[in-house]
């Protein structure tokens, strides 16, 4: 007996194959980029590269100041954006009345996420560097990155809070808990993995951005470690831009080595987020 596919079945197979192909096409470039950067960057990685200061017009030596700078910037961004973002999300999800003003706030947050990062950079230059007089500093850079990161943290946190079943809140309050106790004892612990994931994804973006730090903190060449929040610093993404375009005769392996370090930094955070999420899913009690 010969199997004859009907037109419908045939279309179904074709559709399925096309969708599979599309998925592969998206994955290939990602893997390609990673392999390419590892291949070209790995030869540059050694102890001196990771723990030394740049020498010979950055053509030799290490990138420690840029690594430390990016670390401080991420930390600074977390300091401002995490409490503010989580606080706003709790307000929006648990307290805000459903009215025009709340809708307006939500629309504003969504739109904040769509603003090009270079605009944040200019805004940070105007407000933090010049008007508030922080100068080009880790403080100004962190604040600028915070504003850019806030929408991500707020919307993922809000989503995580909303995913906690309403019935938990009702039950908690029926047992005489106040709203605040309910949030603290039931809602937040349940939403925490989702919130952490959002926070890490937001910070990861902050760590990898160049434009917002361009005018607010990043130094072209500053071969020492920052010793106060009001210091400028080198940072990985900007350093990568500088050595890729601004310095003639730059050894290619230094460029790709720097890219690799940045990639590991960012992907490492991503990995942590994924681990938190999957662990929480396995332990979820509803």
């Amino acid at each position: 007996m010969t199997m004859k596919l009907s037109a419908r079945q045939y279309k179904q197979r074709l559709g399925f194959s096309l969708l599979t192909l599309m998925t592969f096409l998206t994955v290939i470039p990602i893997i390609g980029v990673i392999i390419y950067i590892i291949y070209l960057g790995l030869p540059a990685i050694n102890l001196e590269f990771l723990t030394g200061f740049p020498r010979e017009g950055m053509r030799e030596g290490g990138i420690l100041p840029a690594i430390i700078g990016t670390f401080y910037l991420t930390l600074g961004t977390a300091t401002f954006a995490v409490p503010l973002g989580i606080g706003s999300a709790i307000y929006l999800s648990e307290y805000a009345p459903d009215n025009k003003a709340t809708q307006l706030i939500r629309i504003a947050i969504i739109n904040l996420a769509g603003i090009p990062s270079v605009v944040y950079g200019l805004f940070g230059l105007g407000l933090f560097v010049l008007f508030l007089g922080f100068g080009t500093s880790i403080l100004a850079g962190s604040l600028t990155l915070s504003i850019m990161t806030l929408p991500v943290i707020i919307s993922t946190t809000e989503e995580a809070l909303r995913a906690v079943p309403q019935s938990f809140r009702t039950v908690s309050m029926s047992l005489g808990a106040t709203k605040l106790q309910t949030i603290k004892k039931i809602v937040l612990p349940q939403a925490l993995p989702g919130i952490l994931t959002g926070v890490i994804l937001g910070l990861e973006r902050a760590a990898g951005e160049t434009a917002p730090i361009l005018f607010t903190v990043a130094a072209f060449f500053l071969p020492r470690l920052p010793n106060s929040p009001l210091d400028a610093t080198m940072a990985l993404p900007y350093h990568l831009y500088v050595i890729s375009t601004q310095v003639p005769g730059m050894p290619i392996k230094i460029q790709y080595g720097t890219a690799l370090v940045l990639l590991v930094f960012v992907l490492g955070m991503n990995l942590v987020a994924t681990a938190i999420r999957s662990r929480a899913r396995a332990r979820r009690q509803w």
């Binding site: 079943p165 019935s167 938990f168 809140r169 009702t170 039950v171 908690s172 309050m173 029926s174 047992l175 005489g176 808990a177 106040t178 106790q181 004892k185 039931i186 612990p189 349940q190 009690q285 509803w286």
Partner: protein
């Protein structure tokens, strides 16, 4: 003696829906009052008025009065937190909090500020015993409550309410997700509990209403049709609509 007196209670939600219209009846102490009727009749809304859980929904207007020991529950200045300790509630679906079995029982006391460890663990034991689940869980009090079966979870929910030593217990179709054996256990414990508590039950079937009611209240589309003793309601109802519903002609 009446524990609760409801006078001309009407409830309007902000979308215009009016789940309760001009309801008046009394709930006697230490009896099982059963509120029954077809879906959408206002049973849950009525129940949730008694512990002000309706506050969490979008109420536009509440009229009339609901007196608990002579004090009006609808008074905006009433301490609802205190009220909810006094009037406990068991829900249709057993919703255990994402905590251990023990913590589920002590939750209400702990949010009320109780820190005495001895008192808390005594309460755990006595409440779980009253809810007839102690023997099944005593060896694993620190396990997550979600690991229990549906029937066990519902009895845990009851224990959680009993831990607060309420005066009134509201049960909103507490056995709707349970098998007949677990249902029997819950109904049995209600008979014990009414000696100490006033019980208001929304049953999940007319049969359950008939089995459990000391007093029965028939609600139809937000209106109170008939209040009667359980015995009379299910053998000799006065209103033809009650009769039709009990005999299964609609609903």
């Amino acid at each position: 003696m009446n524990k609760i007196s409801i006078h001309n209670l009407s409830l309007t939600y902000s979308d215009g829906a009016q789940p309760l219209r001009d309801i008046s009846f009394d709930i006697p102490a230490n009896q099982i009052s059963v509120i029954f009727g077809p879906a959408g009749g206002g049973k849950s809304s009525l129940l949730r008025t008694l512990n002000r859980l309706n506050d969490l929904t979008d109420i536009q207007d509440q009229e009339g009065s609901v007196l608990l020991d002579g004090r009006d529950l609808l008074d905006p200045s009433l301490d609802v937190i205190q009220l909810r300790r006094q009037v406990g509630m068991v829900f249709a679906r057993p919703v255990v909090l994402p905590l251990s079995i023990k913590k589920n029982v002590t939750y209400g006391l702990e949010v009320a500020g109780e820190t005495n460890k001895d008192l808390l663990s005594e309460t755990v034991e006595s409440s779980l015993k009253k809810a007839a689940i102690w023997d099944e869980v005593k060896a694993r009090l620190d396990d997550p409550a979600i690991a229990l079966s549906g029937g066990q979870q519902q009895r845990l929910c009851l224990a959680r309410v009993l831990a607060l030593e309420p005066e009134v217990i509201l049960l909103d179709e507490p056995t709707s997700g349970l098998d007949p054996i677990s249902t029997g256990k819950v109904e049995e414990s209600l008979q014990d509990l009414k000696r100490e508590y006033t019980i208001v039950l929304v049953p999940h079937s007319v049969q359950q209403a008939a089995r459990t009611a000391d007093q029965a209240i028939f609600l139809l589309q937000g209106e109170l049709i008939e209040v009667n003793s359980g015995e009379l309601m299910f053998t000799n109802p006065q209103d033809p609509r009650t009769q039709d519903y009990i005999q299964g002609r609609f609903g």
